[in-house]
């Protein structure tokens, strides 16, 4: 560095120091800076709390939205979770399963949905019960009994011989009168094995 430059730098530094000395902060200004900075701290805390509350609210909102979108069946009996959505297998009547079994061969199976099986079971049970307990109204009593069945407008005629046989087995309830709703119990072969009042639950056909 040559002499003129050195002199200039010295002057520059001198001027700069002088300028700086004229622009110092007073003690009160420094104190005000500190007070302002310290005073702002709680607002920072409240801001953090606000952000946290907002995040929580968004989380709850997202949960509600996604829960209502994907959880159509509110009480699924069986669910299969995947990364995309929750599958309720009750939405499907048949499930086809394809896999390689432990022996290494390809196998496929069809799994019927449990509720379909349940429904089928309930229907079967109802048919079974209909088959074994037939309801009808006692419309005429002479030697034979005539019962208007609830099943497809069938009139059931019970001959004296069967009535005697059933009464001998105490399979006919006493006090049966014309107009009563009766229950006819059948065995597995469709034979009537007992006659009784249908009970308080069945006052008329279809009830």
């Amino acid at each position: 560095m040559n002499k003129p430059d050195e002199q200039f730098d010295q002057k520059l530094t001198q001027h700069y120091k002088e300028r700086k000395a004229r622009t110092t902060l007073s003690a009160s200004q420094q104190k005000a800076l500190l007070n302002n900075a310290s005073h702002k701290k709680p607002s920072r805390l409240s801001f953090t709390l606000q952000l946290t509350s907002l995040a929580c609210a968004l989380g709850v909102f997202a949960f509600i939205v996604f829960d209502s979108n994907e959880g159509i069946n509110y009480a699924p009996k069986t669910v299969l979770n995947s990364s995309f959505k929750t599958i309720d297998i009750h939405d499907y009547s048949i499930i086809k399963t394809h896999e390689i079994n432990p022996s290494g061969s390809y196998t496929s199976a069809i799994t019927e949905q449990k509720h379909a099986l349940d429904t089928q079971h309930a229907n079967s049970l109802r048919l079974h019960q209909q088959r074994h307990i037939e309801y009808g109204t006692l419309v005429k009593v002479d030697n034979d009994w005539y019962i208007a069945s609830c099943n497809d407008e069938v009139l059931v005629q019970i001959k004296q011989s069967l009535l005697s046989d059933l009464k001998g087995k105490h399979a006919v309830e006493s006090g049966l009168n014309t107009g009563d709703m009766l229950a006819m119990a059948h065995n597995g072969k469709g034979q009537i094995i007992a006659l009784k009042h249908a009970g308080a639950g069945v006052r008329q056909c279809g009830a």
Partner: protein, 192 residues
């Protein structure tokens, strides 16, 4: 044991108050920082803007120190880190006021003159304080900044960190700043 009791009783202040403050958040360190650096920071801001804005940005900067203390890394100079915060705050403020276009060499952001006390002589120099102040404020933002930071005692690497400019750019700015100052002060002297 005795040594630890002694150190607890006569705790020597850490050399890097900023690191201590970043670690603990203790207001005592903030006080030390303000005592140590607030004047330097304020002068830099006054040079780059005006008294009113400088004080406002100064306050904002100290708030940022509180908010961003966790971002401070002990390997950087605390003063350089504070100046960087102050500079960014000032630029943000200018942009808010739509007074700042670009930080290139040609951007000539004339610092607003406070009430100049012209006619005062500085030391044995025949250049008045007013003339020097006026000449400094005629420099472009980045040239004035380069010369101010150098006079603050920052190394070129520190200035590089504060201004986020390359070393060569900073050297160029310093060279042009001095040339322009010489020219401006020479012209003032001739006028006088």
């Amino acid at each position: 044991m005795l040594l630890s009791i002694k150190s607890w009783l006569f705790e020597t202040p850490s050399k890097d108050c900023m690191a201590s403050y970043a670690k603990s958040g203790d207001n005592r360190y903030l006080e030390q920082l303000i005592a140590l650096y607030s004047n330097d920071l304020h002068h830099y801001l006054v040079t780059q803007s005006n008294t009113h804005l400088a004080y406002d940005v100064s306050q904002q900067t100290w708030l940022k120190v509180i908010e961003k203390r966790h971002l401070y890394q002990a390997q950087t100079t605390p003063k350089a880190w504070l100046f960087k915060l102050a500079r960014n705050t000032l630029i943000d403020e200018y942009r808010k006021q739509q007074r700042f276009v670009e930080l290139d060499e040609n951007t000539h952001l004339a610092a607003q003159n406070d009430k100049n006390e012209s006619g005062l002589t500085i030391g044995s120099s025949n250049i008045s304080y007013g003339a020097f102040d006026a000449a400094l404020k005629q420099l472009s933002f980045v040239q004035r900044e380069a010369i101010t930071l150098q006079q603050e005692g920052f190394s070129l690497a520190d200035i590089e960190l504060i201004t986020q400019s390359s070393l060569e750019t900073i050297k160029t700015r310093l060279r042009y700043a001095k040339q322009n100052l010489k020219r401006l002060l020479g012209a003032n002297n001739e006028q006088a």
